[in-house]
Every structure is written in C-alpha cells, then in structure tokens.
C-alpha cells in the first residue's frame, strides 16, 4: 500500500479502534521511564518514548513459557502458546532485533514454539522521536529499518506518514478508514528524518564500522580490557536480560499439585550468570568472570555473526543503562579494544 497521511486526531481514533479489536501492546510511561504493556486507551500510548526498560522480545519469547506437558507415567504433549497481538510503536532497532530472532530461531532447526508466537504478532513500527542517552543504533545500522515490520509510522511535523507492507498491516490500517495518500512534501520530510536519525541515534559513538567488529574480536581474545572491566562485574545478568538480541534459555520441569502431571518450561538465561556453563560435579567451563564477560561480546559480535550473518547488538543501549557497574556498554568496550590496535 502506498504511504498515507494520518493526522494526529485520526491517529488517536485509529489506535482506539485497534484497541477495541485487538490486544495491542505499546510503550507507556512507568514512572520516569517507559515499558511495553497492554494498552487500555489510546492516550496511554507514548510514541515519544526514548527507549523501553525491556524490549518487545518479551512477547515473542516470554521470561517463562511452557514447552510441553507431561505425566509422570510418560505421556508428553506439545504446548504451543501465543495469542494474536499487535506490537505498536516498535522502534527500528527493536524491529531489527526481532528480525535477528526470526533468523536465529528458524535457521538449522526451526523452533516451533517461537514460531507459534511469532506468526501471531503484527508489528507497527515507529521511527524514533527522542533518543535515549545510551543509544548508538546509528552505529549498528539500525537507526531506521527498510523492512521487518507490517506497518511503519513516522511523525513528520504535525502528521504521521503511515506505510503498510503486509496484508496484516493493511488489515490494521483499514480500521483507520479512508486515508489520503502522503504528499510529496511529507514524503520528503520523512526522507530527511531518516537521514537525521543517523545523527540523532548516535549518542554514543562506536569508532569503527559494525562490519569491522567480528575482525576486531578475532584479534582481541587476550586483550587486557576483558580482565580490567570484568573485575567490576557482579555476574548479575542484567545486561543480557534487557537485551533484545540475547536469546539463551534454561529448561526446567515443574510438577503440578497432583504430583502426577506437570509442565516443562523454558526461561531466560544468560551467559553472564555464574552457573551458565556449569555441569554436574561442579565443573564450570567458564569459571572466571572474565571468561563469561568476554563470551557475551564474542557471542554477539562474532559467533552469531559467523553463523547467522548478523552482529547480535542493535545499539539500543539498554545494557549500558542496566549495568550498575558501568561496564556493559558495547560501545565503550569495543572502543577500548580499538585503542590499542
């Protein structure tokens, strides 16, 4: 569908109509920060948010989810969770992270549980209106995204330009009624805004190109920065829990009250946590904080790149904000590796 114009009042009515018809999740104010939650009314939606505490990943891969049910006598059944929902107002870097997750969970062995949820999600992306202090999406090539969404919204002055890319997007947009085509001036302003985003979303500056990162890591395994920075690490795992491009999980069985049946669940796990590579008998394959800290950057910057073709960091800056020790920022780490090259 060609790009349309959406005035602010029409926008408001459209969101209200969507909320009546669908389960719509979008960024809302939580104290002085923002978080995705179910939208009760259009006024709660904050498309001017800078970044949310957790990324929308929680709707595609919840903190805990059921994989199968079992009985103690050995009957196993798949559980495919996931209900239709609309993610509204997703920033481009988070759209890019969802595309990475799609790739990760379909490559080699398709993960049917992830896909069961994913297929029911419609994404309404929204170009960034205010930048968070730690953001460096522009350095990672995710300040704007060419695809990966069903609908894209861009605020140009006093109106939105809205563009649908899929049948699911068209269906959502139909609820807005008949819309005018976006005029050349609005489209021109949208182009300008996309160019400006390359400056706006560079509050932290990575001193190399994203495609240089795997090579940089290749040369830096023994760099003193791993030890120096990780000396401050609490192994709390916050940096990986808030990350839209971290996908690791643990699996646990839970027996029900009847002691006969139960559920097998998977939950978020993180390679920064002490036990992550620990096996029976207590041997830990990444015993040192330094090893765990380094692994996070290698998995993101090199291993996943070599395997799936992307650097698993979209520059949202959430990890930097979450780390009380101030050592989780990829920009700061990569820049210090670059210093001694």
């Amino acid at each position: 569908m060609s790009p349309k114009k959406l005035s602010l009042p029409t926008m408001n009515d459209w969101v209200a109509a969507l909320i009546r018809e669908h389960r719509v999740f979008g960024p809302q104010a939580k104290g002085d920060r923002f978080a995705y939650d179910l939208l009760g009314c259009a006024a709660d939606l904050r498309l001017d948010h800078d970044v949310t505490i957790l990324p929308p990943r929680k709707y595609l891969m919840p903190p805990t989810e059921v994989l199968i049910t079992f009985t103690r006598s050995g009957k196993f059944e798949s559980v495919m969770e996931g209900e239709p929902l609309v993610l509204f107002g997703v920033h481009p870097y988070d759209v890019a992270a969802i595309a990475q997750m799609d790739r990760y969970f379909t490559q080699d062995h398709a993960d049917s549980h992830y896909l069961a949820r994913r297929k029911k999600v419609t994404i309404v992306a929204c170009d960034v209106q205010s930048a968070s202090e730690n953001v460096f999406a522009a350095c990672m090539g995710t300040a704007t995204v060419p695809d990966g969404f069903d609908v894209l919204l861009t605020l140009v002055g006093e109106t939105y330009v809205v563009e649908s890319r899929t049948a699911a997007g068209d269906a959502l947009l139909a609820l807005a009624g008949v819309l005018e085509d976006a005029d050349a001036v609005s489209l021109g302003r949208r182009e300008q805004l996309w160019m400006d985003a390359q400056k706006l979303l560079r509050r932290q500056n990575l001193r190399c190109r994203v495609e240089d990162l795997p090579g940089l890591l290749d040369r830096s395994y023994e760099h003193p920065a791993w030890r120096q920075k990780s000396e401050l690490c609490f192994s709390c795992g916050s940096c990986v829990m808030v990350c839209p491009s971290c996908f690791c999980f643990d699996v646990q069985d839970e027996v029900g009250w009847d002691l006969v049946s139960g559920e097998r669940r998977r939950q978020w796990d993180g390679c920064l946590l002490t036990q992550f590579a620990c096996v029976a008998g207590g041997h830990n394959f990444r015993r040192l904080r330094e090893e765990r800290y380094r692994h996070r950057f290698y998995r993101k910057g090199k291993y996943l790149h070599d395997r799936c073709g992307f650097v698993a960091c979209v520059g949202c800056g959430r990890c930097a904000a979450a780390c009380t020790s101030g050592i989780a920022s990829p920009v700061a780490l990569y820049n210090s590796l670059l210093e001694d090259q």
Binding site: G74, D111, H113, L115, D250, V251, A280
Partner: protein, 282 residues
C-alpha cells in the same frame, strides 16, 4: 517470516517420545546400564557417538550418549552415571517404567566415512568407554571394513571398569589389540598401573594408517594428544568427544557453546584439526 520457516515449524523438537526401561544392569557403584525401547516400536537410528536427551518426567532432562551399536535393532543402551538430580532419578526408575527420549542428536565418529579401511585406535578414559562402545561394537561387527583395531582403556581404579565381560572378550580376540591401565591398583589388580598415555607408545600404532577415536575427560585429551603427536599422528586423524552443559540439544539454548561451536550440533564428536585454535575446547 519466510514460507520455508512456516512449513518446517510443524515438528516440535522439544517433544520427547515415550520410551520404556526394558532392563537395568548395575555396572559399578555409580554406573548402571539401561536397555531402552521407544514405545513407537521404531529404531532410534543413531550413529556411534551421538547422544539422546533423556527425560525423567517431573525431574528433567539429561544428555546421555548411546552406548549400543546401531546394528542392534531391538532398542538401545545407555550407561548412566549417578551425578545429580536427573541421573539419580534415572537410576531409581524400575524396569517397565517410562522415560522420554529426544534425538539422536549431534555428530558421530566417522565409522561410515574416513575410518573405513584405516587402522582404528579407540582411547577410552573412565565413563568415556560408554559412548565409544557404540563405535567399537560397530567396528567389530563390520570387522572386514577396517584395518588393525586397538582399544586402549584407562580408569582411576579397577572398581570403575565397565563391561568386564566385553573387556575380557576383546583381550581374547585375535583381531583386536586390547590394553588397559588403572591410575591406582588394588590388591587384586595384576595389570598395568599408570596413566593411559603410557599405553600409546607401546601399542604398535602405525600413524599414517590410523584414525583415533577418543572419549574421556578434558584432562585426558590434553595428555593423550601430546602422546599421539609424539608418534606422528596428525590432528586430522584424531576424533574427540566434548561434553558441555546442554539444555536443548538443537543449537538454540546457548549453553553448550565452545567459543563459536555448539557441542550439541557441531559436536559432541569433533575432528581435532577443527578445534585446534578453539580456545575453550580442550
């Protein structure tokens, strides 16, 4: 989402198949041999060195190597060491009780590939004999496809030796060279004492003709590989099996990573040349 992704998403790789414990044989104080059959009646269709994820419903899952040869059509065997929650619960399962099985997963010893026609040296440390036994049985069942066959086995003490009948069978066979050693002897032990590497120089290995299939703890690999280098065995001719924490078995959970490699899908069996420069490997 691509159409391709939508199609292949139908199979749930996390769903275990129901299976039954057919028999249990105590091997040592901590290891028990389980004979297991899939309730579907189907064969497991594994290759030597591959593993399955075993579910004890309500307790959890553990990766366990298949110890029987693929030639064995009627069920398969696992050797389980009592190491923690899941493995202890397995030991407590009685014959006729149910387990869940996922897999087989991972890579295998190349018994159907580069090992054919070559001399084979199996090097087993401790419970490492369990996975290697699958390959040993296969090679002995198809004896004409291979050159000279040598089995080297090392345990900490005589009490930890597995499959005593089979060990004595191998030591009697004219077409197998079998040598073993224990780290610490007891009063009845008449054999070699010392680390397994001591067996390597005297085993009559012709490096140029040989493929080595090893399975044991990481520390064993460190020393074994040095000894193999000393007799000119090349990295490309050495296969090792590496163990890591595993949760999914299919390259998704991230637990088993060895730098950029996944022990569950790129391994557990690796060619030594492929892990030479992988810092976390050995």
């Amino acid at each position: 989402m691509t159409a391709e992704a939508l199609i292949c998403s139908d199979r749930d790789l996390y769903l275990p198949q129901p299976a039954t414990v057919v028999s249990k044989t105590v091997l040592t104080a901590t290891e028990t041999l389980f004979e297991i059959r899939l309730d579907s009646g189907e064969e497991l269709k594994h290759m030597p060195g591959q593993f399955v994820e075993v579910t004890v419903p309500g307790v959890g899952e553990a990766p366990i190597s298949v110890s029987s040869s693929p030639d064995r059509k009627d069920g398969f065997e696992l050797v389980v060491r009592r190491a923690g929650r899941v493995t202890s619960a397995m030991h407590d399962r009685r014959c006729g009780e149910k387990l869940g099985i996922r897999g087989p997963f991972g890579t295998h010893y190349p018994v159907d590939g580069v090992m054919r026609g070559r001399d084979i040296v199996f090097i087993a440390g401790g419970i490492g004999l369990a996975p290697l036994r699958s390959a040993i049985h296969w090679v002995l069942n198809h004896r004409q496809d291979y050159g000279k066959v040598t089995v080297l086995y090392g345990t900490k003490s005589p009490a930890e030796r597995l499959f005593l009948d089979e060990l004595s069978d191998w030591s009697c066979r004219p077409d197998v060279t079998f040598m073993e050693t224990v780290d610490r002897a007891d009063a009845n032990w008449k054999g070699n004492v010392g680390v397994i590497t001591k067996l390597i120089p005297t085993a009559g290995i012709d490096a140029a003709r040989t493929v080595v299939a090893a399975c044991g703890p990481p520390i064993m690999y460190k020393f074994v590989i040095v000894s193999l280098y000393a007799i000119d065995v090349m990295d490309e001719s050495i296969y090792v099996s590496l163990e890591r924490r595993m949760k999914c078995g299919i390259g998704k959970c991230g637990h088993c990573q060895i730098n950029g490699l996944y022990a569950c899908t790129d391994g557990p069996v690796f060619n030594h040349a492929d892990i030479l420069r992988v810092q976390e490997a050995i």
